[in-house]
């Protein structure tokens, strides 16, 4: 019988294999579903690709600057009501940076394509 545990562990295995393959191939690894953490005062990147924020879930330390870069050939925006953050329309290869000075959870979205959503957790 296939339990959710087995599915999970299979998934982990597959992810592990993919990770190894990626490391062997010399590619940086970005997982869609694994929160990435970044140390304080640093920069971290979110790629906007195929109408998705990648990674969509991100955990950073207070003071981290997050830079979104749009690589789609359609403009997108990065808007968070809670974080009082609003980019202009980002055309292809345009970037937008925002420094998170408060802790908390900040959901954001693209105001042009609101089905595009992301989340930043800012920790101490």
């Amino acid at each position: 019988m296939l339990t959710s545990n087995t599915i999970f562990s299979r998934r982990s295995q597959i992810f592990g294999l993919a990770l190894i393959a990626a490391i062997m191939a010399g590619f940086p690894v970005l997982a869609d579903d694994a929160p990435a953490a970044a140390p304080s005062g640093t920069n971290t990147k979110v790629k906007i690709d195929n109408f998705t924020f990648n990674p969509a879930q991100l955990t950073v330390k207070v003071g981290t600057t997050v830079t979104w870069q749009n690589v789609d050939d359609i403009p997108h925006t990065v808007v968070s009501i809670a974080a009082k953050m609003r980019s202009k329309a980002l055309d292809t290869n345009d970037s937008f940076s925002f420094t998170f000075k408060d802790t908390g959870e900040f959901s954001y979205f693209c105001s042009l394509h609101p089905h595009m959503v992301g989340n930043i957790v800012v920790t101490r």
Binding site: N50, D73, P75, A89, S111, L112, H113, P114, H115, V117
Partner: protein, 319 residues
């Protein structure tokens, strides 16, 4: 399928409502749909057919959409050129449409020169144009002020308005403002209230044409292709015998009939987008360079010959 000049007599229900039972639409390969009111019945014909036919039609209007002036990526390096071609097709029509509606995304990034060029090219058609904005038209500093000033100075709110022409009531709506995270297109309570009032005094036999950028019906929510309160707007139109809803945004033809309401989306003049769920994202679809105009409709004769006209028939008596 009937031909362009076929007319179907209006049918009366037991309740005496004129069902205007027969709506027919054949899409010309995307540059525009030509709408005609023949014998009191709205119908759309391919522009190719219109070019060839010499119909005795009292009234026509035209829809174009998603010209995206300023777009220059692989899917179409020159959106200005394809809009020019579309306008040239319109100018070549033997019967001049009374006006056209543009269902938004006039520009790609709301830049002054994009708006200027679009207006300049579209003006060549020599007929009045009624615009509603797409999300790409509200990207200026003033979040739509530039669009409103240029394209809808007489409108209300974020750019909505209505008008009457030869017995038809037209309603232009804006569903690209104040979009909420995770959501779809959005009309908002102020606009909904206005729609309700706008149609309150109309006779139920008045044909209604509603147009907006994002589809007012749910095409594919995973890609945001729908309007969260579109059904509420349409609920105010329930008592009307003929409602035609014209949208853009999805850069492809999509049609549906629900009771007396016929829904249509028009192609773009700039670039195609994939069919729902057939690609990782709804981004511009790059087709072989020689094929682009088939998707935009410029190579209209081939497109029409190679496929049956898409036809939507509104049959409220059967529903």
């Amino acid at each position: 399928m009937s031909d362009f000049d076929k007319s179907v007599p209006p049918q009366l229900d037991a309740d005496g409502v004129d069902r205007r039972g027969f709506l027919e639409c054949m899409t010309w390969a995307g540059t525009g749909m030509l709408w005609t009111l023949a014998g009191g019945l709205p119908s759309a014909v391919t522009m190719t057919k219109a070019l060839a036919a010499t119909p005795n039609t009292p009234f026509t209007f035209l829809q174009i959409s998603d010209s995206h002036i300023g777009f220059d990526k692989a899917a179409n390096p020159d959106a200005r050129a394809t809009l020019r071609e579309a306008i040239a097709k319109i100018k070549a029509l033997p019967m001049k449409p009374s006006f056209m509606i543009h269902t938004g995304d006039i520009s790609h990034l709301s830049k002054d020169n994009e708006f200027d060029d679009a207006a300049e090219i579209i003006k060549e058609a020599g007929i009045p144009v009624f615009y509603v904005p797409g999300e790409h038209d509200l990207l200026d500093e003033g979040q739509g002020q530039s669009y409103l000033k240029r394209f809808a100075p007489q409108s209300k709110g974020a750019g909505w308005f209505s008008f009457d022409s030869q017995g038809i009531h037209y309603i232009g709506l804006v569903n690209v403002v104040n979009l909420q995270a995770g959501g779809l297109g959005n009309l908002g309570t102020e606009q909904l209230e206005w729609v309700k009032k706008d149609v309150a005094d109309l006779s139920a036999s008045t044909p209604i044409v509603v147009f907006a950028h994002i589809p007012l019906w749910t095409v594919y929510p995973e890609w945001g292709w729908g309007t969260v309160d579109g059904a509420e707007a349409l609920s105010y139109l329930k008592r009307f015998g003929s409602v035609t809803v014209l949208n853009g945004h999805i850069h492809q033809v999509m049609q549906k009939v629900e009771g007396r309401v016929a829904f249509h989306t028009a192609r773009s003049t700039a670039f195609p987008q994939p069919a729902p769920g057939t690609a990782p994202s709804p981004g511009p679809q790059t087709v072989p360079a020689g094929d682009l105009r088939k998707y935009l409709g410029i190579a209209t004769i081939d497109f029409v010959r190679s496929s049956e006209p898409l036809a939507i028939i509104d049959r409220p008596l059967a529903g």
